[in-house]
């Protein structure tokens, strides 16, 4: 009876409550941002306002900084710092750590992972995490300067984990792509939003995980979600206004070049070809090189007869308008989820402008990056899904998925997942982390429903899987050295002029190898598996190596035997003792 009386009373009072609220000014009111109840200073030195495009082009001339995702537009992940070298790396010790344990519920609760490449500008570090986190840190001490968190919906469609690979910085701003498909520009001094744009459709299964790339006055980003049968795209926004300048789709629609590779019908509309790894850029040629993802559905190729351009490819485009100049397809008519998103490393050899690419399909490709012509391919891991002629590039398919299943190498995460290789101009070698895994590939016809995964079959990693780190001489395609590792290697490699290759292991060890021989010279147990982008920088003349540690990502694809590995969320920064 009390309830019955109470309800009309509330109803009668509601209009009054409404009046009170109508007067309400939006603001924090009694609320405080969670990070304001911390030691965060709230302000960072103004180091990014002077960071121009011209400085990004000349990033190699300021090795104290790590200015872009790969450290440099060329994607080499190489630093000319050599204070830490093969002779003294054994003395490397933690200088500081930064941790941010998860608070509350989180999308992808078992697979959120710390994957970023920290960016460093004149003593200030900008590093992003899972779940919309972004921190500005004192690069010398690890002190928290400011923190931003974008609210991430629990139901964000994520094929492979709640992750973010880093930020871009320029003209006073920090740019971050959130997993729910927004691009946010923040004031680099205080983390306040300058502009925010939505560019991915979570209702359609899209998301975003990559680090943006600033080229000239544009910030360029690529979509994720090929496992949901989306139509992948790359977008460019004006860095000052946030206005979208162009969008290019990686799968053509009727009337556009390449549509003839989709077998007629409307398969193109669900054709995948997302672009979830940051591209590289050649300022002289004014060309951006960007990898594209697998076609959709992943394993059922009969729904999309043809080579399925421009999926599992590299697209070279004009940064000003996104127009395609050339493309090269690593895996035509991909039916193994091999993608083609992996980094494109730009380097010169004998006066030639080349592009090196370790593909998920198990081959290292060398292209002439002026026009995309094939130079050489080298098998860098077990790969029996097909055969690629190493001198002509001709592809012969051997093991497409069947309805009952076919065992093929590599598995769906590839012989190398997204974590990047590197190139040392000092040794002249290209280096790569390797996953050795076999999977049982099956196809099955699937009715497409927007926002649901669109695999068209399945692939299960079976049997033993392990890892390797390998070095190749791109002049000959010959392997220079290889180190076998107990577990699949799924952290990016970092090359330094100290003749070192830094990376991390799934068991949590940060590790350094001799760049010339592969001999292990140093390791340090960080306590959680490493699936991130180590970087190096210096402050006040002291060199540091920063390695995010925090296990997760698409473990089912690249290391199902390590699903239970200890989770973490710490950034370790190492230096030599004073």
């Amino acid at each position: 009876m009390r309830t019955r009386l109470f309800v009309p009373l509330i109803a009668a009072l509601m209009p009054l409550t409404g009046l009170v609220f109508a007067q309400h000014q939006h603001g924090q009111g009694d609320g405080k941002r969670f990070q304001d109840l911390s030691n965060a200073k709230g302000i960072a030195p103004d180091v990014v306002s002077k960071l121009t495009y011209e400085r990004l082009v000349r990033a190699a001339s300021e090795p104290q900084n790590w200015l872009t995702y790969y450290g440099n537009y060329n994607g080499q992940r190489y630093s000319s710092l050599d204070q830490i070298n093969a002779g003294n790396v054994k003395n490397l010790k933690p200088a500081w750590t930064f941790q941010y344990g998860n608070v509350g519920l989180v999308a992808s609760p078992a697979l959120y992972s710390f994957e970023a490449a920290p960016i460093v500008v004149d003593g200030v570090m900008f590093v992003s995490g899972w779940e919309g986190y972004l921190w500005a840190l004192d690069a010398k001490t690890g002190d928290l300067l400011w923190q931003y968190q974008h609210a991430i919906p629990l139901d964000t469609p994520l094929c492979c984990g709640n992750v973010n690979r880093g930020v871009a910085v320029a003209n006073g701003k920090v740019f971050v792509a959130t997993v729910n498909g927004y691009l946010v520009a923040l004031d680099a001094t205080n983390g306040k939003v300058v502009w925010k744009k939505v560019w991915c459709d979570v209702r359609a299964g899209e998301s975003a995980t990559l680090a943006p790339l600033v080229v000239k006055n544009l910030v360029i980003v690529g979509s994720s979600g090929a496992e949901f049968g989306v139509r992948g795209h790359i977008d460019a926004f004006d860095i000052d206004t946030g206005n979208r300048v162009w969008r290019r789709y990686n799968v053509p629609k009727p009337g556009e070049p390449g549509i003839e590779t989709w077998g007629g019908g409307d398969a193109w509309a669900r054709g995948g070809g997302t672009a979830w790894i940051t591209g590289s850029y050649d300022p002289e040629l004014d060309l951006v090189y960007w990898g594209t993802g697998n076609p959709g559905p992943d394993f059922d190729g009969d729904t999309r007869n043809g080579s399925n351009l421009y999926t599992s490819s590299v697209v070279a485009f004009d940064p000003d308008d996104g127009k395609l100049r050339w493309h090269y397809q690593w895996t035509p008519h991909d039916v193994w989820d091999y993608d083609g998103v992996n980094e494109n490393i730009l380097f010169e050899q004998d006066g030639r402008k080349l592009l090196g690419h370790f593909d998920k399909n198990g081959y290292l490709f060398i292209l002439d990056r002026t026009n995309g012509s094939f130079v050489r391919a080298t098998k860098f891991a077990r790969a029996d899904w097909g055969e690629i002629d190493e001198t002509t590039g001709k592809v012969t398919v051997l093991k497409p998925p069947t309805q009952t299943g076919v065992m093929a190498n590599p598995g769906p995460a590839g012989a190398k997942e997204w974590p990047h290789g590197c190139y040392s101009p000092k040794t002249g070698f290209l280096y790569t982390p390797v996953i050795e895994a076999t999977a049982n590939f099956k196809w099955k016809r699937q009715q497409f429903k927007e926002s649901l995964p669109y695999w068209g079959g399945e692939a299960s990693v079976v049997g033993e899987h392990w890892g390797e780190v390998k070095a190749f001489d791109p002049r000959t395609g010959k392997q220079a050295w290889a180190i076998r590792e107990k577990s699949p290697m799924v952290a990016s490699l970092l090359a330094t002029a100290g003749d070192l290759i830094f990376t991390g292991r799934p068991n949590g060890e940060a590790v350094a190898y001799d760049a010339r021989s592969g001999q292990e010279l140093w390791s340090y147990q960080t306590g959680s598996g490493i699936h991130s982008n180590p970087v190096t920088y210096s402050v006040d003349g002291k060199q540091y190596v920063a390695i995010p540690s925090g296990w997760g990502g698409w473990l089912e694809g690249f290391a199902p035997g390590l699903f239970g590995g200890s989770r973490g969320n710490a950034l370790f920064v190492f230096a030599l003792p004073d």
Partner: protein
């Protein structure tokens, strides 16, 4: 029999779709989801018994310990003149729940929210999702506080009380932002089946 305790699990499970219920039960859940909490509370207990498919696990020892995850029902945020939303939450005395616990926003944007701690003895806090950083408020017994948060849409977010294990004992809630992704983010392709 406490009607609220009976009903709340039904509303929660129907809304967030976690239970492995039969199709008939799902239909009932869908029906209940359409009803406002005020209406649900006025239903006859016998009717509730008929539609409640989780009686055997709800409140086995008549205390907070070991009851089915407690919850405070669902409510829709009101739209204000400037297009933002507003909503009022209560923390009822001695129940360790937010009422309502599921807030529905019709679209993305700002939400003005006030929270009243009706608990006579317990301090409570709230962590709310918010672009820029979670919003935090703390309440002594009897206190009411208000703040504004901003959320993208569509999407489902959580909020909770970070005091002690209040969250584990029922003080977790959800904010559901309805609507489509803005047109500027839509894919250029024919409409697809969902």
């Amino acid at each position: 029999m406490n009607t609220r305790t009976w009903l709340l699990p039904v509303a929660v499970f129907a809304t967030i779709g976690l239970s492995a219920m039969s199709s008939a039960q799902t239909a009932v859940g869908e029906l209940l989801r359409l009803l406002r909490p005020e209406v649900l509370r006025q239903l006859n207990n016998d009717v509730l018994r008929l539609v409640n498919f989780l009686p055997e696990v709800d409140g086995p020892n008549k205390a907070i310990i070991a009851r089915l995850f407690a919850h405070g029902g669902l409510g829709h945020a009101k739209i204000q003149k400037d297009g933002s939303h507003r909503f009022s939450l209560r923390v009822p005395n001695g129940q360790f729940i937010f009422r309502p616990a599921i807030i529905v926003m019709g679209k993305a944007g700002k939400l003005d929210i006030d929270v009243k701690n009706e608990d006579e003895f317990s301090h409570h806090q709230i962590l709310l999702p918010n672009n820029g950083g979670r919003m935090f408020m703390q309440f002594a017994p009897g206190e009411t506080k208000k703040t504004t948060i901003e959320l993208d849409g569509p999407g489902l977010y959580w909020f909770g009380c970070p005091v002690g294990n209040h969250a584990g004992r029922g003080m977790l809630g959800l904010i559901l932002v309805l609507g489509e992704t803005p047109d500027e983010a839509k894919l250029d392709r024919p409409r697809q089946k969902r």
